[in-house]
Every structure is written in C-alpha cells, then in structure tokens.
Symmetry: C2
C-alpha cells in the first residue's frame, strides 16, 4: 500500500491512498484524516486502507484524482519522534579515516543513533531555507521506517512486525556546525535542521522480495544539480538492519506509533575499500561530505564545495522495473529571509 | 491560567482548566480537546480559556469537578519536541570538577542542549518503570517552558512572547549509560528514558513578579524518599534564561507550537562555590548525581547510591504564600516487566 499526505493548509495535512503507479489518489478522510491518526489506530485502519488501495489499483473506485507529488507534505509533516541511525559503517569509516582516527570496535555492534528534531519537517518539494552558507549545507540520502507502538526492550525477533511503513529521507546537515556541536557531547541540534521525506510512504509488502532481513535491496538514486551523484544499494554494507535500529531505539523506552527511524546516509564500499564517484565507475555518494572525505584521503584537501543557493538535490528509488516507488524528494537550497 | 491534561484512555488525554488553588477543574472539550490542539490555535483559544479560568476562580461556573492530581497525564502526554538545556553551569562545573576537567569557556555563552525523546512521556504520578538498576537511575528536577510557533532565527528580543506555558520536569537519567553514550558524540538516547512533567502547567502571568527576565524566582522543592533533598532557587545561578534557551533551540530551524524546552537540573552555588546538602545548611540538590560529585570532590568517592526499586521522588514548587503552583510530580521507581 502507498500513502501520502497532501498539503491542505493544516499542520498535519490530509492522508490519501496513492495508486501503485503514483498516478492517482483517493481521499480517505472518513477513515483517517491524517497519517498519524491512521498509525494511532493502525490495527483497525490498515486493513480498511489496504482494501481501498486494492480497489484504486483495480480502477474500482469513484472520486479518484490525479496525484501530483508537488502538492505533498512529508508523510508525517510533524512527528512525535525521529531517531536517525548511522547504519552504514562505511560512512563512519570515511569520516574517521579523513581525520586519521580509528573507528572504535564497539561501533560495529552498538549503532550510532541520534534523536532528531521532528516538530517541523519540510515537504519533499519545499525549498531548503537556511540563513548562512557558512554552515556548510549538505544533503544526506537515506531510507527510513515508521513504527507502530513499540514496547520498551523489544527483542530482535519481535522488531520486524513493528515496521509498518518505509520512505526516503533527505537529512539536511550543516557540516561546519557538526564538529563544535558534537565536541560538546550533547549530539546534534543546530547541525541537523528540518529534514524532509519522500512524497509517498509504503508498507513493507509493497517492496516484495527486495525487502529482506529488514533491509531494502534496491539502489537509492541521488541526483545533485541534475547529475547522478550516487546510486548505492541500500541493502549493501548496511551493518545494522532496521530491526537492529528499532531495538536500539527502544532499549530504555517505549516508542509511540509514528516513530520514524532513519538508516543514516546510504553508503557502499567498493572492493572492500572506500567507494568511487560515478564517473570513476563507482556507486558514488549520498552526501557531499563523503566525496570531500575521499578527496581529503586521496589528495589531502577537499575540493567539492558544500551546497550553494540555487543548488538542487533529488532523491528517489526505483523498483526492478524502473518505476519510482516513493516519488522523489526534489529540493532547492535558498536563502532564508526573516519576516 | 492553569491547565492540566486528565487521563481518559486516549493518547493525548483531555485538556481541562484548573482553578488557581488546584481544587477544581472544568472540562473544555468544545474549545480544545487536547493541550496540543489549544497550542495549535493558541491566539484564538487562549483568551477563551482565560475567560473560563477567571469564571472558575470566581465560582461563576457550573459543571465544576474536584481536581485530583492522581488522574493527570503530563500536560502534553506526547509532544513534537522536547529540547533540554543545561542552564545551571554549577551542575556542569561539578561534573567536570569531579573528573578533574575544565569547563570550556564557550559553555558560558553557548548553552548545552539536547534533543530528547518526546513521544512517550509518563504521567506525574506514574511509576518510573525501568529494566535494570545497573543503569544508575537518577531524577533531575527542572523547570520547562512550552512555546507557540517560533520562527527560525528568532531574536532574544522576540523570544519572551513565544513562552506560553511553564511547568516542572522530572528528567529521569540513567547515569551509568551516559559516559559511553556521550563518548559516541551523538548525544543522549538510551540514557534519557521517558520523563514526566508536573500535573499542571501555567501561563507566565500566573507567576506574577517572580517571573522576571524569563526566569522563575522561586525555590524548587525536591523530596527524595520523603526527605527534603533540595530547594534551590530556580532564578539563581541560571546562566541562560528561558529566552536564551529558546533562541538557541530555534537557531537553524522553526519550532512547532507545543515545543517543550527544559532548564536542565536546577542547581545553586553556595558562597561562590559548590552547594551543600540541606543538613549541612545548603540548598541541597535536584539530582543524586550532584551529591555524588560533591562526595567525590570532598572524599574521593561517591557514597550515595542511585535509586533503588521502591524509592520515591517528589518535585513541586510553591508560591510565596506556600501554595503549590504546578501540583507535584510524585513517582516511584519500579522494575519493568516485559509483557
């Protein structure tokens, strides 16, 4: 099943069911006005919504409208929880290698994860508005899950059933604010401004056999200023599965329905070592920072600048037939103007 | 105005207006079913709720019921954002002194603040359920504000008007999980489980002249196992005011209405140095960790243990006449049993 949240002038938008081909949708206000509401009552609402989804795909519904990703909010325009992992250790290894530091052994068994701001996500086609380029603006292409209610201390065996939806993420990152912030020890606050999610989220069954071991075995498609910047396989080199990440998030607390957990920047190794750019025959990168780290490791200095105003980022994922699954995040960085 | 959220079997509880003396309340379902809803439309809802509050105090309403703090949720049982500052540098100085480290100079101008889990707060009279005493369970008595919508980059001049409500916090902390977690750099996740807030939240005008420079000039009352453990003055030694903390939180992002920002553990110096216990004539502490740090500094070893199952923590604040303002957080630590 595919779900989306359309802009309607309210804080939480309007939940709609979207056809598999992303061409049409149907309103479901009488069943669930918002995605959070559907998640709050998922056991009851999911089968009803799935029935509608089936009819929509079978052309068996009236009041069907043309779906346009331009009018989408992030599936949850605001959420009660957004915890972002760092499941691709290649990313961490590159960060460390670029500054000649070792990756602690524990990082391979104990996931890195931070609590992110979840109160004001931006839409998948909204501009990224920020005040200063000196902050070092970067994108991060990721995959994320949405959970139902997760009890504290959930076991790895029980984790999978709590994964109810999947979507893509652009985890906007302010690279030049990260080192001073992390050195304070309290995690990211300024350096992770509002992020955005794909126009459409989907139930795991929608992915078929590419959803395996709670990983997505498809390539992420990251285009920067209309050039392919990266197409790493999301299931490859993912040290921690979504089940692992979910258990980690729930170790000392319950998670409320609608909790979003991110994979971290999707990042593939190449021949056991760091990746290569697309031009050099590699799978490229899902963020500028990784390319800059490769440049530092190879040449001693980072050449590729962070984003400038006007730069465009597009993040999507296609199924084996080449059809877009989640719609695409397409955003332009613009100067924020205070009112 | 005083507001509270009563348990009613729903995720967000039922908003009620509470009388100044905390003895009675009135339902306001037709105006705002939940506190989040009231905050979403605060400009319209606040004057209506204040009119009801006036009538309630003037005994000018029907359908008034007896208020009992035992039936309260935290004012926002789940929130879109909870960012906790560390505004009392005395606390940080003690942490550092106990491990012979300096406090970086920048800490006096750049607040420490972390993004906390906000999806599953526990009620002010709910047990604190945790799986293991080996985590080093501690309480932290704090004051917090709730904001309306705050634009990105809000100035210190504009900050005050965005502070709509105040309440108390018990920021439960798992001390033995903090060092390994903070050493990873990604902030608190496991070490800050679900926290709780006072039964009642109040508008700033309710505090009268003790609300000054966006600080609360009253003593917090922290009782541990029915003994006074601390009564530090919340306005004293607060390096960063709530306006400062709000601006910090909003530096690179907008804050959604209903964002909660905490002060951090309230902590007073004594004669320019670290505080003393109540028995020794000081104002005591708002968490066990501070007392343990004093013990380490004085005797080389911490003697006071962290909480055991069955231990009770009570946090409240009285006005100058000695009347409780926010009601009291009263919680017992119990062993968490997986279902």
């Amino acid at each position: 099943m595919k779900l989306s949240t359309l802009k309607n002038g309210t804080r939480d938008g309007m939940l709609v069911v979207v056809s598999r081909d992303l061409k049409k949708y149907v309103e479901v206000h009488s069943i669930a006005p918002t995605l959070q509401f559907a998640l709050d009552y998922w056991r009851i609402k999911e089968p009803i919504l799935k029935e509608i989804y089936k009819k929509l795909n079978d052309n068996d519904l009236e009041d069907v409208k043309v779906f346009d990703e331009k009018f989408c909010e992030s599936p949850l325009p605001r959420a009660y929880a957004w915890a972002d992992g760092s499941a691709y250790l290649n990313h961490v290894e590159l960060v460390r290698k670029a500054r000649n530091a070792e990756v602690p052994k524990s990082f391979y068994s104990d996931p890195l994860m931070y609590q992110g701001g979840s109160d004001s996500f931006i839409g998948p086609r909204d501009d990224i508005e920020l005040e200063s380029l000196s902050w070092g603006v970067d994108f991060e292409g990721e995959v994320a899950i949405i959970t139902d209610d997760v009890p504290m201390g959930t076991s790895i065996e029980d984790a999978l059933e709590h994964i109810k939806l999947l979507m893509l993420v652009n985890d906007v990152s302010l690279r030049n604010l990260i080192p001073p912030e992390l050195s304070k020890g309290f995690g990211f606050l300024h350096s992770k401004p509002s992020c955005s999610f794909s126009p459409v989220c989907v139930t795991p069954d929608e992915l078929g056999d590419v959803w395996k071991n709670s990983k997505v075995n498809l390539a992420l498609d990251v285009q920067y200023n209309e050039d392919l910047f990266g197409n790493p396989i999301a299931a490859n080199d993912m040290t921690f599965s979504f089940s692992d990440l979910l258990c980690h998030a729930a170790k000392t607390r319950t998670l409320c329905a609608g909790t979003i957990i991110g994979s971290g920047t999707v990042s593939n190794k190449l021949d056991g070592g760091a990746g290569k750019t697309i031009i050099d025959g590699g799978r490229g990168y899902s963020c500028i920072a990784e390319l800059r780290m490769i440049e530092v490791i190879n040449d001693g200095v980072a050449k590729t600048p962070f984003m400038n105003y006007g730069d465009k980022i597009k993040i999507s994922m296609s199924d084996k037939a080449g059809d877009s699954i989640f719609g695409s995040i397409e955003q332009t960085l613009v100067q924020y103007e205070k009112e």
